[in-house]
């Protein structure tokens, strides 16, 4: 296990929450990183490279999600992830 492990709390800002289109956006962005990336919400840990798993988080607006990345590019992965969430997935 690579010891380069980072955690970040990320907030859902768009009004519809993490639904299908945002899930697809996240996966598309995260696939290019080698790091293992997880989203933890409500006690459930889900793979950020799977639309199916992200959907099963059921994260609504204002949810605080703990994002975890492990691997050498963990830092840049979480940075991009945070930007995507902050942009509200291009929604309102």
């Amino acid at each position: 296990m690579n010891n380069n492990r980072i955690e970040k709390i990320i907030k859902v800002v768009n009004s519809l929450g993490v639904h299908a289109r945002p899930a697809a956006m996240i996966v598309r962005a995260m696939q290019k990183y080698d790091a293992h990336i997880y989203l933890v919400y409500n006690g459930n840990r889900r793979n950020a490279k799977s639309v199916l798993q992200i959907l099963s988080l059921g994260a609504p607006k204002d949810a605080e999600i703990v994002a975890v990345a492990e691997g050498k590019d963990a830092h840049s992965a979480l940075q991009e992830l945070e930007e995507i969430f902050e942009s509200g997935f291009g929604e309102e």
Partner: protein, 583 residues
């Protein structure tokens, strides 16, 4: 062998030709042990590849025909197809448990739908349908059982199906779908309403269509005038239908000629405005332009359906302006969204309700989602500065609700003023009368708005406590019920006393059986789907207003719906036979 089925005609026309059974049906998932996991994984990979091709094609076609927003859903489906979770679990279970791919896929769909549902986030819950949809496609490709794709129909055909959800209906192409026949559905279901506006001949409520036929379907003939479906029609049947069709088109042509040269008024000169109901801007066709007196009901929620996110203010503004400009100076009544109930849009955070018809729909939904509501009102007020637009609120049940929506409207006006954006400061404001409580306080409501429009579909459903989509009790859904007729009378009288306009925009307005009665009540505005306009206008020219008033009074004396119907029918047969025998 020819087989005949009976149903309810909801959109007129006569058509015959090839039939397509759109019935995804239930597939039996085989579950068995495999010997060669490598081969099995290869088999599922190639099924995934085929599915990918299918979905890519669907994406492209939807993009081409309906735009980026509607196509977005296929993009998500494509991503699900490449989902790590699905692929890893497939590989693992095929190799470790030596299970066939179909059963593993089925288990994955079950497991994740359950997971997603347990999050309690109803908006995201809706997405289980997508997961199941994608996995169903892969399984069908494994079993080589194709599901017909409505977007992918090559030859024009007659569509036979159990049912069609509103979002599926919104993607129907009139050039490809020549007629629709459904086992379920009713006159007022959305399939029916949309089919009428797209002018696709349609029959619904054909019982046992999919239980009893065993014959191979070679073709079908649809007589959506009399409500008859012929499976594998004989040449005699087609000959008969062809003659009927020719006769009908001749009569319709006569109507239209006569109507264009005739003002819409009774024999004794009372003006009756016949308006059109529309769902989508592209329904503003020649009938609407030349024969209608404007739009009496623009159901704006169709702009919101079948999309992954709501339309923006600009998008809405453009649609409203287009319709208003095309018809200017004729009025266009924009009804704010009636989302919720059976028209649930997939992106709203809609909590599943036990009884959606009595739930958070229409203005109730809007008052609970103010941002959403304000965006729509902004677009409407702005568009109203360009054309003759009026704004109407659905499902008003109390004076407080009317005041609340007006308060929000005022807030929106203040915001637009502050931002210096041009808009119409005083457009006419109206309400739908479709809840019995609104009928009973119509005199109070009339003091605080500019017009009423009676929505008979819901008014009947709520007054008679009949779910119009439940086939077992659909016969109880009865516009001729004396209670309904009295409620119409009450509403119209309240409007007349308060000196405000009153129109009717439910299906009753397009039923020739009721035209004289409605005119006699004092209604001078009827709104209906554009196909019905020629006939109703022709009928109006044969009505004498003074006689109609007497006739209405007589009808209001009836105690039973049976009595009402027999008088209405006799009247049609004696006085309006030439015009109405067509229906």
């Amino acid at each position: 062998m020819e087989k005949i089925y009976h149903g309810i005609p909801v959109s007129p026309g006569i058509v015959w030709g090839e039939a397509l059974v759109y019935d995804p049906g239930v597939i039996n998932i085989p579950r068995f042990k495999i010997k060669n996991p490598k081969e099995e994984y290869k088999r599922v990979q190639s099924a995934i590849d085929i599915t990918k091709e299918e979905l890519t094609l669907l994406y492209k076609k939807t993009l081409e025909n309906f735009g980026k927003k509607q196509a977005g859903i296929f993009d998500v489906h494509l991503m699900l197809l490449e989902d790590e979770t699905i692929l890893i679990e497939l590989k693992r279970r095929i190799h470790e448990e030596l299970l066939n791919a179909e059963s593993v896929l089925y288990d994955i769909a079950q497991k994740y739908s359950k997971d997603i549902k347990s999050t309690g986030n109803s908006f995201i819950e809706e997405r289980t349908a997508d997961v199941i949809d994608v996995i169903d496609r892969i399984i069908r490709n494994l079993l080589e059982q194709k599901r017909p794709d409505l977007d992918n129909i090559k030859k024009p055909c007659i569509l036979l199906s159990v049912d069609l959800p509103p979002s599926e209906t919104a993607r129907l192409h009139p050039e490809k779908i020549r007629a629709i026949v459904l086992e379920r559905g009713s006159t007022t279901s959305h399939v029916a309403i949309l089919a009428r506006s797209l002018r696709i001949p349609t029959i619904v409520g054909v019982s046992n269509l999919f239980n009893t036929y065993t014959a191979v379907i070679k073709g079908a003939a649809v007589d959506a005038i009399s409500g008859l479906l012929y499976i594998n029609p004989t040449s005699d049947t087609i000959l008969k239908l062809r003659q009927k069709k020719i006769q009908l088109s001749r009569r319709f042509l006569q109507y239209e000629k006569r109507i264009i040269s005739h003002p819409s008024q009774t024999e004794d000169g009372r003006r009756i405005s016949v308006l059109a109901n529309i769902e989508l801007p592209n329904e503003v066709d020649d009938n609407v332009k030349h024969l209608s007196a404007g739009i009496g009901l623009y159901r704006t929620e169709y702009l919101f359906l079948n999309k992954t996110e709501p339309p923006t203010e600009e998008e809405q503004y453009k649609e409203y302006v287009y319709v208003a400009k095309t018809l200017n100076p004729l009025p266009v009544i924009l009804r704010t969204i009636d989302i919720g109930g059976d028209k649930l849009a997939s992106y709203t955070n809609f909590i599943k309700e036990q009884n959606p018809q009595l739930g958070c729909r229409a203005v109730r939904f809007c008052l609970a989602h103010k941002d959403f509501f304000k965006t729509q009102l902004r677009a409407m007020l702005r568009a109203a500065s360009i054309g003759n637009i009026k704004i109407m609120f659905p499902m008003i049940s109390s004076i407080e609700e009317l005041r609340d929506v007006k308060k929000i409207l005022q807030e929106v006006k203040n915001e637009l003023t502050l931002e210096g954006i041009p808009f119409n400061k005083e457009p006419e404001i109206g309400i739908m009368i479709e809840i019995p409580s609104a009928v009973l306080i119509a005199d109070e409501l009339a003091k605080e708005c500019n017009f009423f429009s009676i929505g008979t579909n819901d008014l009947i459903q709520y007054s008679l406590a009949v779910d119009r989509n439940n086939e077992n009790i659909a016969h109880l859904y009865d516009p001729a019920h004396p209670a309904i007729l009295r409620m119409l009378k009450m509403t119209v009288s309240s409007a007349i006393n308060a000196n405000i306009a009153c129109s009717i925009c439910g299906e009753m307005a397009s039923d020739p059986l009721f035209t004289e009665f409605l005119v006699g009540l004092g209604l001078n505005s009827l709104s209906m789907s554009s196909v019905s306009i020629p006939q109703i206008r022709a009928l109006i020219t044969k009505i004498t207003y003074t006689e109609a008033v007497e006739f209405s009074e007589k009808i209001l004396q009836c105690a039973s719906s049976k009595e009402v119907r027999s008088i209405l029918k006799e009247r049609i047969n004696t006085k309006f036979k030439n015009i109405v025998s067509i229906v």
